[in-house]
C-alpha cells in the first residue's frame, strides 16, 4: 500500500509544478546557433553574386542524390567585376529527399552552402510534393535579403585534421580554405 501512496504522492507533487509545455505557434523557442535546417545558398555581397560556382561536388557527395546543379560561364568575369570563372546556372534541391546530413556543407570548396538555422528552415509544410523542390532564387532569397544573420560556418570534418590550438583562429580558417581549394 505504501507504494501506492508514494505513486499518488508523486503525481500530486507534479500537479503543483509549472507546466513545461510551450504553446507552439504563439511562442517559439529560440533555435541554437548550430540548428540544422534544410540547406540554403549564400550570397556574396562584395561581388554581388552567389558564392556557388556550380562545381557539383555537393551533388556528388549527397547520399540521397537530392541536388541537381549546372554551371555556366560567369558574365561578370568577362566584365572584370569578379574572379569566378564559372557561376551556378541552375540549382535544384529536393527538400523531400534531403536528410540534412551536412555532408554538402562539409565538402563544399567555396563555403557557398550552409544549413539554415532559422525557423524558416524547418517550417516547410506544403500541399503538393512538387512545391518542395527548391530552385535557385528560393535558395538564395534568405541570404540575399540579409535575413540570414548568423549561419553556422565552422569548418567541419577533414578540415580539422590539421589542428592547431585556438590562438591562431584566423589562420585556421584560411588554412582550411586553402586545403579545400586544392583538394
Amino acid at each position: 500500500m505504501l507504494g501506492l501512496l508514494k505513486a499518488v504522492g508523486t503525481t500530486i507533487r507534479t500537479a503543483l509544478r509549472k507546466p513545461i509545455t510551450v504553446q507552439y505557434p504563439i511562442e517559439k523557442k529560440e533555435l541554437p546557433h548550430r540548428a540544422r535546417g534544410f540547406p540554403i545558398l549564400l550570397w556574396d555581397f562584395d561581388k554581388d553574386e552567389s558564392f556557388c560556382t556550380g562545381c557539383q561536388v555537393c551533388a556528388r557527395y549527397c547520399p540521397v542524390d537530392c541536388m541537381t546543379v549546372t554551371m555556366k560561364d560567369n558574365p561578370k568575369k568577362a566584365e572584370g567585376k569578379s574572379t569566378r570563372k564559372k557561376i551556378v546556372d541552375k540549382f535544384y534541391i529536393d527538400y523531400a529527399r534531403c536528410m540534412r546530413c551536412d555532408i554538402c556543407v562539409e565538402v563544399c570548396n567555396f563555403d557557398a552552402i550552409v544549413m539554415n538555422n532559422t525557423w524558416e528552415g524547418v517550417e516547410l509544410s506544403k500541399y503538393d510534393r512538387q512545391d518542395l523542390v527548391m530552385d535557385l532564387p528560393v535558395l538564395l532569397r534568405q541570404s540575399q535579403s540579409g535575413e540570414l544573420k548568423d549561419p553556422f560556418r565552422e569548418p567541419m570534418g577533414v578540415a580539422h585534421s590539421g589542428w592547431t590550438p585556438k590562438q591562431e583562429e584566423e589562420e585556421e580558417v584560411v588554412e582550411a580554405k586553402k586545403e579545400g581549394g586544392e583538394g
Binding site: 507504494g3 501506492l4 546530413c101 551536412d102 555532408i103 562539409e106 567541419m156 570534418g157 580539422h160 583538394g183
Partner: protein
C-alpha cells in the same frame, strides 16, 4: 482443444481457439509489428510474429555510398540510440583503415553515447508505463528529461535525432564553449527527474502486481536464445560488452553493471532504470577527464579508401549488442555491410516467453523487450 461434455454424440461440443490479430496499426506495439495470437479464452496458445513492414534496404544501400555517407544509415537503423550505432560503425571503419582517433574525440563520443543511452532508457520507461496502463503520466515525466537531453544535442550537433556527427577518424566539429556547464546542468536535471519516475512506477503496487513473476527467463534459456543487453542482465548474467570486450576508452571509467534475479518483466525495468544512474556516473567522470586537443586524426584524407579486409565490431547499445560487419575491397565503398541488430535477436524469443500467458500480459512482455522496428527490419 476439444473439451467433451457429457452430451449425446450428435451434439459434441468443441471449443475452438480464435485467432486474434494484433495488427500493424495498434496502439500497443512499438512500431509496425504484427502478431497473430491464437487464443483459448484468455490464454495464448500460439504466437506468430510477422515483421518486415519497415524494411528499407539498410544493408544494401550503403554498398553504393562511401564510408562517410553511410553514417546516416546507422542513425536510422536504431532511431532511439543513434550515437551508439554511429559509434559502432565508425569504430569498425577505423579498425579497417587503421586510424586512431585522438583522445578528445574519444571522450566526446563516450559522453554523447552515454547521454543517448539515458534518453533511450527514458523513452522505454515512458512507453512501458503506457503499456501497463498509466494514462500518459509516465510518458510525460520521461519526456521532460529526454527533451532536455535533446535540446543539449541540438546545441552540440544541430539535430535532435539524426545526428550524423561522428566521422571515421574523429568527430565532425568541436563542442561549443559552454558544453561543460550545459552537460552538468542536464545531469542535475536528470538526477532530479528520475526521482519522479522512481516514485511513480518502481514501488507502485499495481505495477508490481502486473509485472513481477511475469515470464521469468532462466539463465540457460537466456544464453540459448541469444538475448543480450538488459534482457540478459535481468536474468542474473553479468555480461556487458563495455566490460567483456572493451572498445573506445571504456576501460578508463568506473561503473557497475546492474543485474536482476529472475529475468522477469520487473527485473528488466529495474535494470534499465539502474543503468541510467550508471551512465550518469560515466558522464561525470568523462567530463572531469576531458581535455583540449584535436578532434580529428592528423592527415586525414578527403577520400577514405579501406584496404581489403573484414571486421566485426560490436558495442553495447541500450537494447543489447549492436554489431556491424564490414567487408572492404580496397575502394571507397564497403563491399558488404551487415548489421547485427539486438532487437531482432531479442524478439525471436517472444514466442517462447508468451505461450501460456494472458493476452494482456503479452502486450506487457512485448513492451519490456524494448524493440525498435527500424533495427528489427532494417
Amino acid at each position: 482443444m476439444a473439451i467433451e461434455h457429457h452430451a449425446p454424440p450428435e451434439h459434441e461440443l468443441d471449443t475452438i481457439d480464435i485467432n486474434v490479430n494484433v495488427g500493424p496499426q495498434h496502439p500497443a506495439t512499438h512500431g509496425v509489428f504484427r502478431m497473430v495470437l491464437t487464443v483459448d479464452g484468455e490464454v495464448v496458445t500460439d504466437l506468430d510474429p510477422v515483421i518486415g513492414y519497415m524494411h528499407r534496404g539498410n544493408e544494401k544501400l550503403p554498398e553504393n555510398c562511401d564510408y562517410r555517407q553511410a553514417i546516416g544509415y546507422h542513425d536510422r537503423t536504431d532511431y532511439l540510440a543513434q550515437f551508439n550505432t554511429e559509434h559502432c560503425y565508425v569504430e569498425a571503419v577505423e579498425k579497417l583503415t587503421g586510424l586512431t582517433p585522438p583522445d578528445r574525440a574519444e571522450y566526446i563520443r563516450v559522453i554523447l553515447a552515454e547521454f543517448n543511452r539515458i534518453s533511450s532508457h527514458l523513452m522505454f520507461l515512458g512507453a512501458f508505463g503506457t503499456d501497463v496502463g498509466l494514462f500518459g503520466t509516465s510518458f510525460m515525466y520521461a519526456f521532460r528529461d529526454r527533451e532536455t537531453i535533446q535540446d543539449m544535442f541540438e546545441e552540440v550537433t544541430g539535430e535532435r535525432m539524426m545526428f550524423n556527427y561522428f566521422r571515421p577518424g574523429g568527430v565532425a566539429w568541436d563542442l561549443p564553449d559552454d558544453f561543460d556547464e550545459l552537460a552538468r546542468g542536464v545531469l542535475s536535471q536528470i538526477k532530479r527527474g528520475i526521482k519522479d519516475i522512481d516514485g511513480l512506477m518502481m514501488d507502485n503496487e499495481v505495477v508490481l502486481v502486473r509485472c513481477r513473476g511475469l515470464s521469468p527467463v532462466s539463465r540457460e534459456d537466456a544464453i540459448n536464445w541469444g538475448l543480450s543487453g538488459p534482457m540478459l542482465r535481468a536474468c542474473g548474467i553479468q555480461h556487458d560488452v563495455r566490460r567483456a570486450d572493451p572498445y573506445s576508452i571504456y576501460d578508463r571509467f568506473e561503473f557497475d553493471i546492474p543485474v536482476g534475479e529472475q529475468g522477469d518483466v520487473f527485473d528488466r525495468m529495474t535494470v534499465r532504470f539502474d543503468e541510467i544512474k550508471q551512465s550518469v556516473r560515466i558522464i561525470e567522470q568523462a567530463l572531469d577527464q576531458i581535455s583540449e586537443g584535436p578532434i580529428m586524426v592528423e592527415g586525414m584524407k578527403r577520400i577514405l579508401r579501406a584496404p581489403a579486409g573484414e571486421v566485426y565490431m560490436r558495442v553495447e547499445s541500450p537494447r543489447g549488442e549492436y554489431g556491424v560487419y564490414v567487408v572492404a575491397n580496397g575502394s571507397d565503398k564497403p563491399y558488404r555491410h551487415k548489421v547485427r541488430a539486438p532487437s531482432f535477436c531479442n524478439l525471436s524469443a517472444l514466442r517462447a516467453m508468451s505461450i501460456g500467458q494472458y493476452v494482456a500480459d503479452v502486450i506487457v512482455i512485448l513492451g519490456s523487450i524494448d524493440i525498435v522496428l527500424g533495427e528489427v527490419d532494417r
